[in-house]
């Protein structure tokens, strides 16, 4: 049994947690990522940390030392991405990904985090699995 002050403290903690989530997170949460088109038409102030999402352009993935280079596309716009560190295993060309980082002065997006965005379609693997072309 939790003592009475403990319970009140727990209630306050839960409410404060909720308030913190709402105020702190909602700003960035409602637009979780920007698209390449938005980034190109409204370039962010240099150094502003944003998330960028789009389809990993097939054939664009290259590995260069600890860097992974690829392009993200959406609605005909493309942005080149320079990712530091390995993307997750599910990262594939032709699938969606969201990267987090800053747009560099050379127009290349410097990312240090990449997450894979998958759709709501579920299919069994093909009998002969395709070779992983992402790595």
């Amino acid at each position: 049994m939790i003592r009475r002050p403990g319970r009140l403290a727990l209630l306050v903690l839960l409410l404060a947690g909720g308030g913190l989530l709402i105020t702190g997170a909602l700003r960035d949460t409602l637009t979780y990522y920007r698209t390449p088109g938005e980034l190109l038409t409204h370039p962010t102030a240099a150094g502003e940390r944003i998330r960028l999402g789009g389809e990993v352009v097939p054939g664009s993935v290259r590995h260069d030392g600890g860097l992974v280079l690829f392009r993200l596309s959406d609605g005909g716009h493309e942005v080149a991405v320079r990712q530091r560190g390995m993307p997750p295993e599910t990262f594939r060309e032709g699938e969606d990904a969201v990267v987090e980082g800053r747009l560099g002065t050379d127009g290349v997006f410097d990312a240090d985090q990449v997450v894979v965005r998958h759709g709501n379609e579920y299919r069994p693997s093909a009998p002969a699995p395709e070779p992983s072309d992402a790595r």
């Binding site: 909720g18 909602l26 997750p88 985090q113 894979v116 299919r123 069994p124």
Partner: protein, 260 residues
Amino acid sequence: MMRTSIVELTVDSPQGAAARRTTGWTAAGLAAGAGLAGGLLAPADAMQGPAQRLMYLHVPAAWVAYLAFAVVLVASGAHLLRADARCDRFALAATEIGVVLTALTLATGSLWGHLVWGTWWAWDPRLVGTALLFLVYAAALALRRALAERAGVPPYGDPRVTRPVAVVGIGGFVLVPVVHFSVRWWRSLHQQATFLAPEQPPIDPRMALALLLAVAAASVCATWLLAHRVVRLQRRLDAARAAQGRRPVRSDPRRPAPVG
């Protein structure tokens, strides 16, 4: 022909116990079927691999949590309108089930996100909304305890405790449609719904079968737990009132707790 309603399921009688037992075994059978279908029959997803099987835990947990909060909404409303203490016990039991299932949704979703997205957590509308849902209903449980302690009464059965809690239970439901439609209203990392989508995207029929079985199993299991909890709460309240020397609400002799 078995015709049981949720009210019959919560009657503290041999018939009620038998109905609860039947519900429990139905849940176990459906869960076994869902386990076999999800673990063996359904193929692993082409893009996500075996991690996609977490869907058979994550989606039922989320859907049944929504259902539980809908029960909280209806029972809390009925409690406020009709001052029926029984409705409050339904609301309490459903809140507990919903909070546990929301925690399970967050846990399985986090693991699934780690395996497929490459992150345990993202500040995404669906994820933040689900966390808020958890906090609001956990706060309703905490509020119930705090008010009961302050008034020196049991956490259920006293309107000074149950009425404010019912208001929280009703208000919290606003979040359910927000969470459900968050993936349509806002740009999200989380994928869209598959079954509850306006246009159904393709899903392998074996995966669909496993998912529907898992949702059915979770729904029946939650109903079973709800019925048990409501009966247990009623008994505890009766025992407390009898101990206080007041008029017992029910007069039938105490029987050992039937299982089922």
